[in-house]
């Protein structure tokens, strides 16, 4: 079962700065294997989030993809039309943001915002959708799904919101989840619970997860593969165990020392 889900090939992203072009990502290559958890680590500004946004083709207008390919499940992702992309996002790729408070619309209930994904990507009727949402909330171990369903984002605690967002991301059963620093705003005990949840979902739902993080502890604990980025380039990649046991690049060594 080691088939490749996503291949990123020679991906280069640039931003226009006056007459000059600056490269945010240069020639990066890596694969995401089905059902694997891949960690993407690196300092701030090293291009982690840009890489993630490329996977949803949601770069801001100032950024352009210069060259490269993203092949998702055999399909060249960069040639899809906007309409095809809409069917892709949410259904094939789920996204978990760093701060769920901002990623939920404050005027709509959590329940409705999860339901929205189902409206867009499934033909369930209203009743089926609602029971599916409750099931999802239960799946991310929210103890009182009915209450959370009817709540507005500001009424929930940080941990609850994060769980609700995970529920939203997996609602249309995607094959890949991209989690952009999912635990950095949570306290330590909550972090542990969320990590456990990721592991569980990874096994139960056969999800591949692209985990963007600073936290090497999390990486060691959770991920199968590791990609280390610095200044828009990949400096090291491989099996997590191997890389952490024998870091070859000086930056990886520094990173390891800094967290010990």
């Amino acid at each position: 079962m080691n088939t490749t889900l996503v291949t990123i090939k020679d991906l280069t992203v640039s931003v226009k700065d006056g007459n000059q072009k600056k490269y945010l990502i240069e020639q990066i290559n890596f694969d995401i294997i089905q059902e694997h958890i891949v960690s993407l680590v690196g300092e701030s500004g090293s291009g982690k989030t840009t890489t993630a946004l490329c996977l949803g083709r949601l770069l801001s207008l100032a950024l352009t993809i210069e060259s490269g390919k993203i092949i998702f499940n055999g399909q060249d992702f960069l040639t899809l039309t906007e309409k095809q992309l809409q069917q892709f996002r949410g259904a094939e790729i789920g996204f978990i943001f760093q701060e769920p408070l901002y990623a939920f619309n404050p005027l709509l209930t959590i329940g409705f915002q999860i339901e929205e994904v189902l409206i867009a990507h499934s033909d369930r009727n209203r009743k089926q959708r609602q029971s599916r949402v409750l099931e999802l909330l239960d799946m991310v171990r929210i103890s009182d799904p009915m209450r959370v369903f009817r709540s507005y984002p500001h009424q929930l605690s940080g941990g609850m919101r994060q769980r609700a967002m995970i529920a939203q991301a997996i609602a249309a059963s995607p094959k890949l989840i991209i989690a952009d620093e999912p635990t950095s705003n949570l306290d330590v005990t909550l972090q542990a619970e969320i990590i456990e949840l990721f592991q569980e979902l990874n096994q139960k739902l056969h999800l591949a997860i692209l985990l963007i993080t600073h936290d090497l502890g999390l990486v060691r604990h959770l991920s199968d593969d590791l990609v280390v980025m610095k200044s828009g380039r990949i400096v090291e990649k491989g099996r997590t165990k191997d890389v952490l046991a024998m870091p070859r690049h000086s930056y990886t060594q520094e990173l390891l020392e800094a967290t010990h």
């Binding site: 949803g56 949601l58 996204f95 990623a103 619309n105 005027l107 209930t109 929205e116 867009a120 507005y152």
Partner: protein, 364 residues
């Protein structure tokens, strides 16, 4: 506040609106006026076109409660018209004929709201007596009744006009701000074309395009369309600005990431965030529509006689002689004033309620 219940920001704003005495009073006044307009044909003692030429410019009828020193049920005397040496009208009460005021008086068959057949009106006096609560106009038509019928037109034009122009303004502004670029440029230049021409002249120009042979309903509809054509552009510009900033919010990115269509994102995730502004703007712009209709009708380009609207009723008050001799023809002006003021105050209070920065500072 009840902890188990969940409140949306709108419910919170409504909650603080309910606490405001000023807002509550004027909102009730508006509801009262709209209610009266809705049931105009039942409440009005006469129809809007029922004329009594021998009673032209009759002053408001006096209602008497005391007959020969004893308290009785309210009644009115018959009035007779004569002219004084300056050829001015003088109405005298004819004490030999008195007519009692009654509830549910029988009249000719008519239809309430055009559907329910009815043979009675809410109140009136015994026939052949007449009661003119606010006097009569040049053709001897009851101003009170015409005010009620006119309210139907004058008050509904504001609501319908605002619905059309705000629908248009929200949509155009939302689309322009969300897509940006060329779409934004084209839509905004279009808005500016509308805003360039002074409102009143644009209104007159558009009115002149409407054919003369329209019946009264077509005229009514064309006035609504004309008025809403003028109002949408300003709103579209403001909504466009808000949507430019709103589309950068993370939940819009999140919604895109979930694969929602652009239209859904604009409708559900961008426009609702402009509502606290636009609800206030709606309230504050309704008076503009009411005044617009009144202005058009006043100069004879709006609703045509015998149909009543507050504007065309006011055209009776265009000469100073009439205002001096028969001040009651100004009554529609008073109602326009009341309505416009109420909308402005309700809008003002709503703005305070929606503005979280003002909360707790001001408890009106």
């Amino acid at each position: 506040m009840n902890k188990d219940k969940h409140y949306s920001p709108f419910q919170l704003a409504l909650d603080s609106f309910k606490k405001s005495k000023r807002g509550g009073f004027f909102l009730r006044l508006l509801i009262f006026l709209y209610g009266a307009a809705f049931f105009a044909d039942f409440i009005a003692p006469y129809s809007y076109q029922e004329e009594a030429r021998q009673h032209s410019y009759a002053p408001p009828t006096k209602i008497h409660m005391i007959d020969q020193g004893r308290l009785t049920r309210p009644f009115v005397y018959a009035q007779s018209l004569s002219f004084n040496e300056n050829h001015e009208r003088v109405y005298r009460e004819d004490k030999s004929q008195r007519y009692s005021l009654r509830l549910f008086v029988p009249t000719q068959k008519y239809f309430i709201l055009g559907i329910i057949p009815s043979m009675t009106r809410l109140w009136g006096v015994d026939v052949p007596g007449k009661i003119y609560l606010f006097g009569t106009d040049s053709r001897g038509r009851d101003i009170f009744s015409r005010l009620l019928y006119g309210a139907r037109i004058s008050l509904s034009i504001g609501l319908i006009g605002v619905l059309i122009s705000f629908g248009l303004g929200l949509l155009v502004g939302g689309i322009a701000g969300y897509y940006g670029g060329i779409v934004d440029n084209i839509l905004m230049r279009l808005c500016e074309m509308f805003m360039m021409v002074p409102g009143f002249y644009l209104m007159l120009a558009l009115r002149s395009v409407v054919p003369d042979n329209f019946n009264s309903y077509q005229v009514y509809l064309s006035i609504v369309v004309i008025l809403s054509f003028i109002g949408w552009a300003g709103l579209a510009r403001i909504i466009r600005g808000m949507s430019l900033t709103l589309k950068e919010r993370e939940y819009v990115l999140a919604a895109k990431m979930l694969g929602l269509s652009d239209f859904k994102i604009i409708i559900r995730h961008i426009l609702p965030h402009t509502l606290s502004y636009s609800i206030v703007a709606i309230m504050l712009s309704i008076p503009g529509y009411i005044l617009g209709e009144a202005a058009l009708s006043l100069i004879g380009l709006g609703i045509q006689d015998p149909l009543a609207s507050w504007g065309n009723m006011l055209s009776e008050a265009m000469s100073i002689a009439h205002i001096q001799l028969h001040p009651w023809v100004l009554m529609p002006g008073f109602f326009i004033f009341m309505t416009v003021m109420s909308f402005n105050i309700v809008g003002d209070v709503l703005r305070d309620c929606f503005d979280p920065l003002l909360k707790g500072i001001k408890e009106s």
